[in-house]
Subunit: 694 residues, 2 copies
């Protein structure tokens, strides 16, 4: 499915997708539709529909076992801090722990003892403990302000609330989350762990059998699972509130729950906003991702080490590409857009019919059409100059430069996100050591510079300032080879420097970022003033219109915060072809061609005579999920874990804008298959024992 | 501008762009708008507007000096067969004449004597001699037929007309051209030359200074010019009807004519057709071109020889990408689409107001909306399976396989395009020897196969048949290394074989194509039946509606046939920035950074003290042109050549769908600059003498 992750969340935010409200406006959510918050779950409906007996205690148990990772979801599955998630959520860590001599991505990570479990650089795990309504405080903070000032006042108030909730304690995360596109704000408080170790990862070719061609498709034969463990003070954390491991696959029609962190949905963007996505933001993303994909794919053919270091970047890029491609498919489907127009017309009609409401909210749709014009003009400079390249080294430099500039100001005048505590937290993130491929960094830098020149043109003053007399390739080479930012010790030093010291540091990447940062921040300010500020304000008014028109028994758009969806195990039929809900391990051997990416992993080939080919491998269900849900526990009515969701089918990609119960499906690797693999392919008795199966 | 060419023409055809009618439906064409046929040029309007005195004799002289190349335009500029065109129209030839030891692309091609001029493989030159109306015959042929049968009957009648006009004489080309989207059909007869030799090409970096970033932009400093010569019986052809070379640049406001072969415009596609382009065909092209661009760019960094062989493929791809990107810009501009909707509504209203007309034409707009649905379903399989890869070896194999299959049938049952004479002509084309890069061929094959699998999915039966148990890379390697089709002698042998002999030939590429050709032809038949046939029929009805509503004093959409446009030398103003109409040679040295692609060519650097920096280099004018016009002579009121058109500005890319006289500009390299370069940079007295300047 998706590294989607902070990267996805962030990049969708850059796409201008503020926050959303609801899918089916004129009617309550259809059966199985909805990514419900834990404080507003339709218990009665579910119990009635499926003949089950869930209650608040059931919900609390699930919540306490649900884990948020960077960009992914997960769950506690033993009393000793063991976490189940997807392989693709840990593959970055596996790559970080690998080197040219030890390719754990290819061969898998299977330490013999708990002592050999290694820390994943930068990985954190968060468990939601409390939800508090803070709507009035946040909405009050923006009152009477416009544009960038409005955005800043809101952000500052949210920061204040977070600070009050968690202080600077690194064991807690407090996050103010905008729900219903600004209709509600809630403070989510998480217990946070930052020593997260890699316990088990299968071979890449087992986890990602079928590769990009099979991604977002079904039938599927992928063991997309892995295990982590949370530690504190050097010891595994005791986690009595874990999910029970059920090693048996469900039956067709069985009820399924998915608890996780769907990243972003945009189900109630206005038609003008959807058209801006369709006509500008998604096309540019698809085009840029495609060219970069071509560069990385070709680079990966130049040698074994190039292939090794490119695996994870290519996976992330191809995955995002397919997500956007699927989204574009929905937005260019005339029937889909006709429904969106109809929904919008219905809501506007209801507003028009209620003079008091109409007077209170004005015409936010017209406001958003005006925003669309500004967005059209500003999008490319904002995207290129402020969002920057994928380069990790550039990101380090940018974070350090901005921290230095803000720290030089009095505290009250700093931008949100730059309190001393924030900068200290940044320091902890910068201290994480992860390997960096200079080749790939250079590709990222040269690509970004050449696209910036292409889209903004050579004669643009900011482009002239960026490039000077050099080519993109020369700057890429100079900044990547001329920086010490790959070294965490130097990052710590640099973070302590003043802007003047940074300028004198002689570090090529830092100097490059420093020279161009004012222009980048200027375009950011313009964007906030003309686009994100007015968008946020209009979104809030539309949310008020929705609450007034349809009531509040609705689920909010996804915001990478904990949600619960319900559904059942079920295949689907499309254009006359019916897809069954299960695959079996035996099917892997039938689909194996020996040629990448349809070559079965070596350990699986070796184990062919030992594995039970009748075991359910992957299955699909009607749960409503989206990128960010990767690794979510799939749970039966008893609250036991029966799999890890790792993908949606191709139809589910339009789910960003609307759910279709006939076609949208969640794809899950079964605990049955994981158990079988641990027993007969990878021979991991210590894990089986910990999971309570023999 | 564009290799646009047959490649562009063909690929736009694949985009489903049938044929078009007119830009400004409700009013006569605006001043300067229009790509007029030579038999319907608005002489009076032009003479009146510009105070000039052109007449039929003037038009005939220009027509007789205008030359059509593959995908480009050109003109005769001496009495001994000398042809002026663009460098980018001859760079393929320059590359063909180069090898790893002789890089004429980089260093230029400047033979000392006429005897050293070398034949360009496959290049032809055609001069229009007659135009005959054949509308009734062609329209009559389709009567009473539908779908694929309709398309085939029309094509067969057009072939018959062509055969009657030119027989099998290789010195003549007869072509039935559809004008006004099927409103008229005309037989164009050309004198054809197939011994075309390369006379002069400057250094690549002089011709294409600024590279892709400057392409379709202005100000510009590019010597995008080159010379060819037509030979017959081993001697230069005597061409008394040539244009006179005027070595002086025009002044601002001077009238300018451009005679050439604009490839394709789509100015009166219906809104449904434009939306299909916007939502499916252009996005897929942009995405695929981008990924392939990334692959080729990265490949070109792997060594000097890789860089050399990739120059032309990358240029062609980036150029096409930018064309499509510009087109997409127009189609996603809300104001532009609103005008298109308004125009369509106006025409439909006029039809509705005329019951006789309405009864005669029915509702072709509704027909096209139904086509859009079929097109949506068939486009990807048609594009992937029938259009095939960019690979030259694959193209050879496909041509040979199809010829063999058709030749096995009785003449009356063959598809159009496969008479014995057609197959003989194919044999002559296959005999042309051009170097082939196996590396790039493999990239093309692997890319195409992987995209076919991606878009049609692994479980599609045709994809299964294509790939079998192999990866795209394995098939690419096997077919490219296992074919003898790079050898013209083997191509001649293969063309003589039966399908059975081809199957037994042991040639990997031929066998691969043979195994998949039935499926490709099947999807082609479906496409003709459900898409191109009904589109053509509806287009014709809309053309009738237009003639009825607005009269016949209109220009037809571009069809890569000879047209004349008029305008004047003029800059433009956009978003407050004014661009002057001229650049001067001195500006080249100011823009030179030394870094690719802004590094001035070596001979120009060496000549800096000798050249006259006040010479006009490039200039812009308001002429209405499009891809295919590359190399067109720009002509003054006296009928003298004053430059070679080589590009449009960025705004002109929307010109595919409509002309905007405020912004659309033609970009031309002046004869003044070419003269100065021949004199003081490249020292070519023999050419200067032939051009009549000392």
């Amino acid at each position: 499915m998706s590294l989607p992750s902070l990267r996805l969340t962030a990049s969708l935010a850059a796409l201008g997708a503020a926050t959303a409200v609801l899918s089916a406006p004129a009617a309550p959510a259809k059966a199985e539709e909805g990514m419900w918050t834990f404080d507003n779950f339709p218990i009665a409906t579910v119990n009635q529909t499926y003949g089950v007996n869930i209650d608040q205690a059931w919900l609390d148990r699930v919540r306490e076992a649900a884990v948020r990772l960077q960009g992914c979801s997960a769950s506690l599955v033993s009393g000793e801090g063991l976490i189940l998630t997807n392989h693709h959520c840990v593959v970055g860590c596996v790559q970080d722990l690998s080197d040219a001599q030890h390719d754990y991505v290819k061969n898998g990570w299977m330490p013999a003892t708990r002592e050999d479990e290694k820390k994943c650089p930068g990985q954190t795990a968060e468990i939601l403990t409390d939800i508090t309504d803070v709507t009035e405080r946040v909405q009050g903070a923006g009152q009477g302000l416009e544009g960038a000032a409005f955005v800043q006042a809101r952000n500052a108030e949210a920061e204040k609330i977070q600070k009050e909730g968690c202080g600077d304690d690194p064991k807690w995360t407090c996050q103010v989350i905008s729900l219903y596109r600004g209709g509600q704000y809630k403070l989510y408080k998480f217990r946070k762990y930052d020593d997260v170790r890699l316990v088990f990862a299968p071979e890449f070719q087992a986890a990602f059998f079928g590769g990009d061609p099979d991604n977002f498709n079904f039938p599927r034969y992928a063991l997309d699972s892995g295990f982590l463990r949370i530690y504190e003070d050097g010891k595994p954390v005791a986690t009595p509130n874990h999910l029970t491991w059920n090693p048996n696959a469900p039956k067709e029609g069985d009820v399924t729950f998915v608890a996780g962190n769907p990243g972003t949905t945009q189900r109630l963007l206005t038609v003008a906003q959807l058209e801006a996505l369709r006509d500008q933001q998604l096309p540019i993303s698809l085009i840029q991702f495609s060219e970069l994909r071509g560069r990385l794919l070709e680079y990966s053919t130049t040698g074994d080490e190039a292939k090794r270091v490119a695996v994870d970047p290519i996976f992330g890029l191809e995955n995002s590409f397919k997500v956007y491609y699927g989204q574009q498919g929905a937005l260019t489907d005339p029937a889909f857009m006709a429904r969106k127009r109809q929904e919008e017309a219905d809501l506007r009609q209801r507003v028009a019919a209620d003079p008091e409401l109409a007077a209170r909210i004005g015409d936010p749709w017209a406001d958003l059409e005006r925003v669309a014009q500004a967005q059209r003009d500003l999008y490319l400079p904002y995207r290129q100059l402020e969002s920057g390249p994928r380069s990790q080294l550039y990101s380090y430099a940018k974070a350090i430069v901005r921290a230095a500039k803000e720290r030089a100001k009095p505290v009250a005048e700093r931008r949100p996100g730059y309190t001393d505590a924030d900068i200290a937290a940044l320091g902890r993130r910068l201290a994480q050591n992860a390997p960096i491929s200079n080749d790939i960094e250079e590709i990222y830098m040269a690509f970004w510079l050449s696209k910036t020149r292409e889209y903004l043109t050579v004669d643009n003053p900011q482009v002239k300032a960026l490039l000077g007399k050099d080519s993109p390739e020369q700057i890429a080479q100079r900044t990547v080879s001329g920086t010490r930012l790959a070294d965490p010790a130097f990052r710590a030093q640099a973070l302590a420097m003043t802007p003047e010291q940074l300028a004198a540091s002689g570090d090529a990447m830092i100097q490059f970022v420093l020279a161009n940062d004012d222009a980048a921040q200027a375009i950011r300010t313009q964007w906030e003033s003309a686009v994100s500020g007015p968008t946020s304000r209009a979104g809030e008014k539309i949310a008020q219109a929705r609450f007034a028109a349809y009531g509040t028994n609705l689920y909010p758009d996804a915001t990478f915060s904990l949600r619960l969806s319900y559904g059942s195990v079920k295949g689907w039929t499309y254009q006359g072809v019916t897809v069954e809900p299960f695959t079996y391990i035996g099917g892997l051997y039938e689909r194996n061609t020996g040629a990448e990416p349809f070559n079965a992993a070596e350990d699986w080939l070796a184990a062919e005579d030992k594995v039970n080919k009748q075991t359910v491998y992957d299955f699909v269900s009607t749960n409503d999920i989206i990128g960010g849900n990767s690794g979510s526990p799939v749970i039966n009515a008893k609250g036991e874990v029966i799999g890890a969701a790792f993908d949606g089918n191709i139809h589910s990609l339009g789910g960003s804008f609307g759910y279709d119960g006939n076609l949208n499906r969640t794809v899950t690797v079964s605990t049955a298959a994981i158990t079988e693999a641990l027993r007969n392919v990878y021979h991991q008795p210590r894990l089986l024992e910990e999971l309570g199966v023999e």
